[in-house]
């Protein structure tokens, strides 16, 4: 857009106008809560959810970078703008999917999703420990309810309880660490943290904070809740709860590490060890899974591993820190889009891998999308996932971590094996008619297909146009 047109419209959104996306999402939240009394009921809530989060995406994209809010509690950087936009777009596509799906009662789901999205869009910009804590919780808490959305199913409740208990525990550990950090740095803002003198206690405190965040990111060895929780839940709920909060938490992790790299030596080593551990545990555990949700949970552990490699490089400081910071964001976005796509397909077809059997005959278009998602996660060019991986590897090699890259590459091949099992099921599996009612396939609708197709298309387009995507994130 031309500069004069932009300024005429009062754009980009500066000052408190930067809260526009959150207000829009609040509209969706309340509409969802009171959908019973509003026109359209469940479908109305989904439609409003879609429209509001799509507008919120536009709003996020138009937020003026550099905006400071609430005395510096929020700082809208270029990368925060990028992540918030992606989060809102994913939320919009997810709402669109619910509008087109046959899952029935969607109103609370929309309200919860909107709440989580508000939290996530704030979390990517938060630069204050207290605020950070609040918005991270806001982003992840609705997930517990979504996981247990079918409250009459025992598995779902068990899953939700597991997820809830682990999250509460990790939150407490995080808070515990934060309390020390506040004491040590004599302030709650990131600016104060940056000035914090190095000390063993500081390392301990920061370690606690990271531990809490890693558990939410499902990095090994704090990943064990994820497969059980996801398997017990509806795939469409997992598609949201395992994707949106993770983008926000990744940003929080890399931002904190970036801020504190100087005051907490050795963290990068701890993070690297956990990254390697996550890659091994995730990749090899995923090989054995017969349930798409469990597989994607372990695949999430692997992505956490890749993201933590980048986070560790951020911790090394120096010239690669900034590049590693961006590499982490790109990687988590690439894996988020693909994960959401796979799980939404699983929401149509059923949670087990064998439920995908014969998809290529039932719905060739969705089968094609599934191929795009899996190839992107494997890292086959020219899809977005490939460039995100390549970028990460280049940063790692620039930082002198050749061994890590070689190792990560081998893991990528192991991952190819289980991702391809999804493709194999979809294209070669013999379709079995399943009469089990909770696995009965919901009818396809145009809107759900559009939503999944848009996710697949975005991976192709963002891959070929990697340059503009990256430029926009860097503000270059």
């Amino acid at each position: 857009m031309h500069a004069d047109v932009v300024s005429y419209l009062g754009l980009p959104l500066t000052g408190y106008w930067a809260l526009t996306p959150a207000v829009l999402l609040l509209v969706a939240l309340f509409w969802g809560l009171f959908a019973n009394f509003l026109p359209g009921h469940d479908r109305g809530a989904s439609a409003v959810g879609f429209v509001c989060s799509a507008l919120a995406a536009v709003g996020s994209a138009l937020t003026a970078p550099g905006t400071l809010l609430f005395g510096g509690r929020f700082f809208y950087t270029y990368d925060a703008r990028f992540a918030a936009t992606i989060i809102c777009v994913l939320c919009a596509l997810w709402c669109l999917w619910t509008l087109g799906s046959g899952i029935g009662r969607t109103r609370e789901a929309i309200a919860l999703a909107a709440a989580s999205t508000i939290g996530a869009t704030f979390a990517v910009a938060a630069t204050d420990l207290i605020v950070l804590f609040l918005v991270v919780e806001l982003a992840s808490m609705p997930g517990y309810v979504l996981i247990g959305y079918r409250r009459f199913r025992m598995r779902g409740l068990e899953a939700a309880l597991k997820y809830f208990l682990l999250s509460v525990l990790s939150t407490l550990i995080m808070l515990y660490g934060m309390s020390f950090l506040v004491g040590l740095s004599a302030g709650t803002t990131f600016d104060a943290l940056r000035e914090m003198p190095a000390s063993p206690l500081g390392l301990f405190a920061f370690g606690m904070v990271l531990l809490g965040l890693f558990a939410k990111l499902s990095a090994a060895p704090f990943h064990w809740w994820a497969p059980d929780a996801y398997e017990g839940a509806e795939p469409w709920a997992v598609a949201f709860a395992s994707v949106i909060p993770k983008i926000a938490i990744t940003l929080v992790i890399v931002r904190m590490v970036f801020t504190m790299a100087a005051s907490v030596p050795y963290t990068q080593l701890i993070i690297m060890v956990m990254a390697i551990g996550s890659l091994i545990v995730g990749a090899f555990a995923a090989l054995a899974q017969k349930d798409t949700r469990r597989m994607m949970a372990y695949s999430g552990v692997v992505s956490a591993g890749f993201v933590l490699i980048a986070a560790s490089l951020v911790g090394m400081g120096g010239s690669v820190a900034q590049e590693a910071f961006y590499a982490a964001i790109l990687y988590v976005v690439a894996s988020a889009i693909a994960t959401m796509g796979v799980l939404l397909i699983a929401a149509h077809e059923g949670g087990r891998v064998s439920d995908l059997n014969g998809l290529s005959k039932r719905n060739p278009f969705l089968a094609g999308c599934l191929v795009v998602f899996t190839l992107s996660m494997i890292g086959v060019p020219p899809l977005f996932g490939f460039f995100a991986k390549l970028n990460l590897f280049m940063v790692a090699i620039a930082a002198g971590q050749v061994e890590v890259v070689v190792f990560a590459v081998i893991i990528a091949v192991v991952c190819a094996f289980y991702y391809l099992r999804l493709v194999r099921a979809a294209f070669f599996g013999e379709a079995v008619i399943d009469t089990d009612d909770d696995l009965a396939r919901s009818p396809y609708s145009g809107l759900a297909t559009v939503s999944i197709g848009a996710l697949a298309l975005s991976l192709i387009v963002m891959g070929i146009l990697f340059q503009p995507v990256m430029n926009w994130m860097l503000g270059a």
Partner: protein
Amino acid sequence: MLSLIVFLPLVGVLLCALLPQRFDFAAKWIALVTTVANFGLAAWMFIAYGRGEGILLEKQILWIPQIDVYYHLGLDGLSFPLLVLSTLLFVLAVVASWKIDIKPRLYFAMLLLLSLGLNGVFSALDLVLFYVFWEIVLVPMFFLISQWGGLRRRYAAMKFFLYTFLGSVFMLVGIVALHHFTGSFNMIELRELAPAFFAGDGSLWSLQWWIFLAFFLGLAVKVPIFPLHTWLPDAHVQAPTAASVLLAGVMLKMGTYAFLRISVPILPDAFQTWQLTLGILGVVSILYGAIVAFAQTDIKKLVAYSSVSHMGFAMVGIASGTAVGFNAAMAVNISHGLTTSMLFFLVGMIYERTKTLKIAELSGIAAQMPRFAGFFCFAAFASMGLPLLSGFVGEFLAVLAAWQSPVLPPIITILTGIGILCGGAYMLWLLQRSIFGNPSALVEGKKDLNLREISVLTPLAILVVVIGVYWHSLLQYTDPFALNLVKLIGG
């Protein structure tokens, strides 16, 4: 112009994908028109510009500045003949797949996507772009094998994908490492930048040696070099005819092509350290392929193992490090592309008729199907390296190069020569068992080749004779490249 050649198949892919189901029959026409246009364009460019010096039809645009990736295409004496061969084989593959009736739209879309990937591999001059095309090739081939293949197609397709993917990710590490040290992905610039950076140190365990190893792993799987060849028999045998042809005819060439394009000129010192290893592995591939081919009872598997053997000659040629050797490798590339394609086409044709690939059940074809027998004998003779046919050019040059090479010991020359002999032996034995003798029950009463099938085989046969009789027709393109390469590695 080159971009047009590379991306022309994309038009066909999109048309096939958007075609409504009731126009299934149109897919093959779309594919035929696209591939013919693509071949026509490539051949025309070849005739018009093929003899030029340096990089032809070069095009360079900045694609992703942050990670320094260019959209950079160009051709030379190494890649131009391969590009033309590839586009030609795609035309023939489409004609040979005329009777595909299971999901024809997807089939032809995949075939065209494969064509796009291969065009790109042979044209890309930026390492990342090269890798992009290199991987694009995997996907359609995975589907071609797994959807239209034989009984064990799923196993073969998975094995094919994982093997080649494992190899190529190591190559990716090599690519990123090269960029880290030299700051460039440009394959042409790297010929000067990389040796300058490594300052002539390519000894064992040196940095350059490791990068060569990374590329070697990626390329050796593709060539394939013993012991990384085990995906090949499965993939070739299970693949549908057209895919086998393209696997053997074009995709195996990606490996030797990349050795000559990347490993040798960009990492010349490590190449010298590796030379002997490459030579030994090449000879082992030749003999191993030949001996295993002897033992086969399945005609398609025999042809597949003969590919391992033939590509070994290319490796020996490369390992020799001489201009003759590089010419040999390029000649084997082209000639093997022609003869093995013929053999796989013929095997596919006999399979369509008899539904068997067992050599024991195929005796006496000559009596029943004289035209088929004629073509089969011709292809077999060309493959075993009979003088005046194209197979002889590369294999003779490879033996000569091994002899001339200052690095390879004479025993390699001797064993390479024995390899040619073995090639003759298993092919003749195959002819004796399948073509001659009394017609078996399965062969009895089967129709001979029809006009469509003959039109697939004839162009290949003509090229085999032209190259075999008049070597210069091929070597005039490859020789400048080979001489330049020798200059680059300081030989």
